[in-house]
Symmetry: C2
Subunit: 325 residues, 2 copies
């Protein structure tokens, strides 16, 4: 398949692996890129810029194909060493950066000067237009379905994608709710130039996370995610567990009085305990509604090849068949 | 286009007009059916079974093509005269009934004995499987996007449609978030056999509602709907206005103590005042997020012809082009 996204990113298939905390290591990014998609290393999972340099170097040892780095710009006062991380990305020769969180305007000139393509993750048309206006090369349009931070507007991709197609001139990929060829062809039909998958790539052989996490995704249905931290206007979609239900109970009790400190037990330092140690009730961790569509643990190559073969058949056989009659 | 839905319902295009209170009159149903879709008269908008008989008769005067009747089975103690309405439907020779609300098991034998096809509206996979098991002929899978009652699970169609395709053997149409060719082709790609549009058909020339309602839909963006009555577990998606914001304020104040009586001013007897009188702040009325994708007031024939032409081009040109490269 050739779309504006495969052209822009110089990849074979219009499939991007989303940035994921304590999941987006070199092993996964290399596997996705080797399979013809765009793998992504998560910068802030690395404790320091030099760790990120090392991770980029490890990824290059595993693939000759393009891969990217996710740089999440946090809404906190105590910033990570962003200049250091950006230097590591540029010096590592990474061709693509996925930015997320706050407006990436300040970091864009450095990335663009180094010839890096920037895809900004947006949960609204307003933010997508802003991303375009400041010079982002593409947008990852993140629907209400997504794991992690869906924003506060609650607009699913059935609406958000055609709206983005009407408003944006730059390429965009569909993010949130993406699992298979049906998601890909559906998104292409609604105007997207490709898709971004997060949760789906967690349930692959190469995802360097605990087996219990993969099993939890397989066992989950579409009814098993919850939205937490809504009263803080920092909503996150997570897989439910005892810690999440306890957190939600605190949210109901405290209402508008809720403070981040009230739920720190359930949200601070959770990722290494879940993803590495497999302590499944350690706290709240991101998972998309799409878990309900995930039923196996293929290799990234098997997954991407299957999606591309089924997408071709969906278009050439099913859809063409319907329209010919 | 030929799909399992066009075959089952004996219609030209896989497009159904959803049942809508004080909108689904004979004028709209006939216009949709004349354009090759399936128009639907809303039974409970008619004050009595004899009024429904009259409305069916009026519709037959305006079209020779198949049309249906929506029968919403309310979760109330004081039931409307359902046997009377069903008798009117059967004696009127209506070939299709869309049921909604409670389980339609009790009414199915009467409808099936009369040779009527039954499509049940479902907001979950669980209810869709139940509908199949009791013998419904098709399901209208209603995503979180929809105007009116989306249920309490909040699962958008990007997930719900592929899930339904995996689980259901009977035909199903996508409902909620449907506006144009992109919605139709996207839904067909995700496994649906057609689409059901509600809000989009309100903004047509033939919809016999006040012009101010159509204008309000045109002016609305995807950010202008609200979910009300969630604390009562009878969630309804409506267009925001001063009455809706007042209602939401009462919900926030009263929390779990909220009673239907507290908001009766905003929800009782609203539809005739809005739809007929054009009193736009009379109270809460259903509107889908899809309002953000609606920008004109075509005739039903113009709308359906445009959708079908664009859907053909989407499949034959855009998607086939992407897959050929």
């Amino acid at each position: 398949m050739k779309t504006r996204i495969t052209e822009l990113l110089n990849i074979e298939h219009p499939i991007i692996q989303g940035g994921m905390h304590y999941v987006g290591y070199a092993e996964l990014a290399a596997a996705v890129s080797n399979a013809g998609g765009l793998g992504i290393i998560t910068a802030l999972t690395q404790q320091s810029p030099s760790d990120l340099s090392e991770e980029i170097s490890r990824c290059k040892d595993m693939t000759n194909k393009p891969f990217g780095v996710n740089l999440t710009i946090l809404p906190t006062f105590k910033d990570p060493d962003y200049p250091g991380y950006i230097k590591a990305i540029i010096e590592g020769g990474v061709p693509v950066v996925e930015t997320a969180g706050r407006n990436p305007q300040e970091v864009l000139p450095y990335l663009h000067e180094a010839g890096i393509k920037v895809i900004h993750k947006c949960t609204s048309i307003r933010h997508s237009l802003k991303a375009k206006s400041i010079g982002c090369d593409a947008v990852s349009v993140d629907g209400f379905e997504c794991g992690g931070h869906p924003g506060e507007d609650d607009i699913p991709n059935m609406i958000l994608l055609p709206r983005a197609a009407d408003e944006l001139e730059i390429p965009f990929v569909a993010s949130g709710g993406m699992a298979d060829a049906r998601s890909l062809v559906g998104s292409l039909a609604m105007g997207a130039d490709g898709m971004n998958m997060g949760t789906r790539f967690m349930a692959t052989k190469e995802a360097p996370i605990h087996e219990k996490v993969k099993q939890a995704i397989l066992e989950a249905t579409e009814l098993d995610t919850r939205l937490i931290m809504r009263p803080l206007r920092n909503t996150e979609r997570v897989l439910t567990n005892v810690a999440v239900e306890r957190l939600l109970e605190k949210e109901r009790e405290l209402g508008a009085e809720l403070n981040i400190d009230d739920i720190s037990e359930e949200v601070m330092g959770v990722y290494p305990r879940v993803m590495i140690d497999g302590d499944m009730d350690a706290g709240a961790w991101s998972c998309g509604i799409v878990a309900g569509l995930i039923n196996d643990i293929p290799s990234c190559e098997e997954l991407i090849n299957r999606i591309m073969a089924e997408a071709e058949s969906l278009i050439k056989d099913r859809l063409t068949g319907i329209v010919m009659e």
